[in-house]
Symmetry: C2
Subunit: 230 residues, 2 copies
DNA sequence: ACAAAAGTGTTAGAATTACACCCATGA
DNA sequence: TCATGGGTGTAATTCTAACACTTTTGT
């Protein structure tokens, strides 16, 4: 197929900042580029938007194609349109933030054989294009969003201990939180409920597992709530 | 000029939701469409992104071309990419929110002779394309942003009374605010300072004019503040 | 018995909310 | 002198933040 236009129009891509939580650290998914420009450099997963798919659809497709990921949370972040952000031609990219539990997803080799890997966000390599700026903005969004929406649960297993949840929040907001205040606040919301399961085989008092109450969350969302989580 | 691509790529436009404050009401700028589709319908100002301009640049250009507006505040909102949002062909649009003081800008006739006019946001006409949804999302952004960033000042004259400022906030957040509490809170921030001017010729006690202290705002912004305005 | 993290309340201080009257001005 | 909105303080309540010891479990 070839299409002809009366004037130049920018190419359109999507790029995804996929965050995970592993070994008590926030990690980000990167893809090693196989071709020029920036061959051998790490970059965000993404690619061109097809003419017959939505933006969200393109983001989901790229994540499946490039890493075999099926995502639990996907949110549009910002659209980047600097003139020189791609050295080949004008490319505008719609950036997304996605959250995933790395333990539940084996990273599959990309369909075009490029490597995909998780990196600690604080020790990530230099990135291709303007992806550095995109990751920074995604971190900002994550940090501000986590304060009033319970998005963090997408990063954890279905059941989790309160300490795990607190560590996740601490990693995202970048400071230590008070254990008792954190538990009071998070439990008062009623969004997470205790199960009757406990940790097993740990050399200490076993922690109770909790689970996210999606029904209650949906009910709250209806009535236009204001969370103020931490 | 004609450009040929190996595969279809969506067309890219910008659309602007321009808010103003007039007669104690929040108003939005609309343009009457001259051509199909939606000829005669009102729509958001906007148009195609040229290959040699940034997204912000395209938004600014369209506002000048279509309404003669030079804007004080412009912020990217969201990118809309539903497949059928334009009946002619696939068009992805990057939406912007802009704030302007209508009293300081005479609306100029559009370069292609379409009408531009302000409408009370609550009594706006039915809009072309998916512009209804874009305006709704812009209102949400305005309402949430105004709570922690002092963006409202772009909508007022350089000097304003505290009652004018309070009315503006009330219109945006959609509820009455307590006069004493509002003044305490807004003055404690130190972002607005009294002038020695007062209203003249009003049949009541004259109100003092205040002005926004941009220097202080920039200083606060540096140190990563958290406003919590109302 | 020891090491290691789980679990649990109280109190002081800060912030928020509710609330009513006198004042200045022009007509 | 009257009508109109401008301007001002306090007290009750709620929310936030700081803080330490006992419990459970496996080795």
């Amino acid at each position: 197929m070839a299409f002809t236009y009366a004037f130049a129009r920018p190419a359109l891509t999507v790029d995804c900042v996929v965050f995970g939580f592993r070994d008590q650290q926030l990690v980000v998914l990167l893809i090693e580029r196989g071709e020029q420009p920036f061959a051998g450099k790490w970059a965000l997963p993404g690619g061109f938007v097809h003419d017959d798919e939505t933006l969200d659809g393109a983001a989901e497709r790229e994540l499946v194609e490039e890493a075999g990921l099926r995502i639990s949370y996907l949110e549009q972040l910002y659209t980047f349109g600097a003139l020189d952000r791609d050295p080949r031609e004008r490319v505008v990219t719609v950036a997304y933030v996605a959250l995933v539990n790395p333990a539940q997803h084996e990273l599959r080799a990309s369909t075009d054989a490029r490597r995909a890997a998780w990196f600690d966000v604080r020790e990530r390599p230099a990135l291709a294009f303007d992806h550095e700026a995109i990751v920074e903005q995604a971190l900002e969004r994550l940090r501000s969003k986590v304060r009033y929406r319970p998005i963090g649960f997408g990063l954890l297993d279905d059941t989790f201990t309160l300490t795990e949840l607190q560590k996740l929040y601490e990693v995202i907001v970048g400071r230590a939180l008070d254990k008792r205040n954190f538990r009071k606040k998070i439990l008062k919301l009623g969004l997470i409920v205790p199960t009757d399961q406990k940790e097993r085989g740990v050399p200490r008092r076993a922690a109770r597992f909790f689970t996210f109450d999606r029904g209650r969350y949906d009910a709250l969302t209806e009535s236009g709530f204001d969370l103020e989580l931490i």
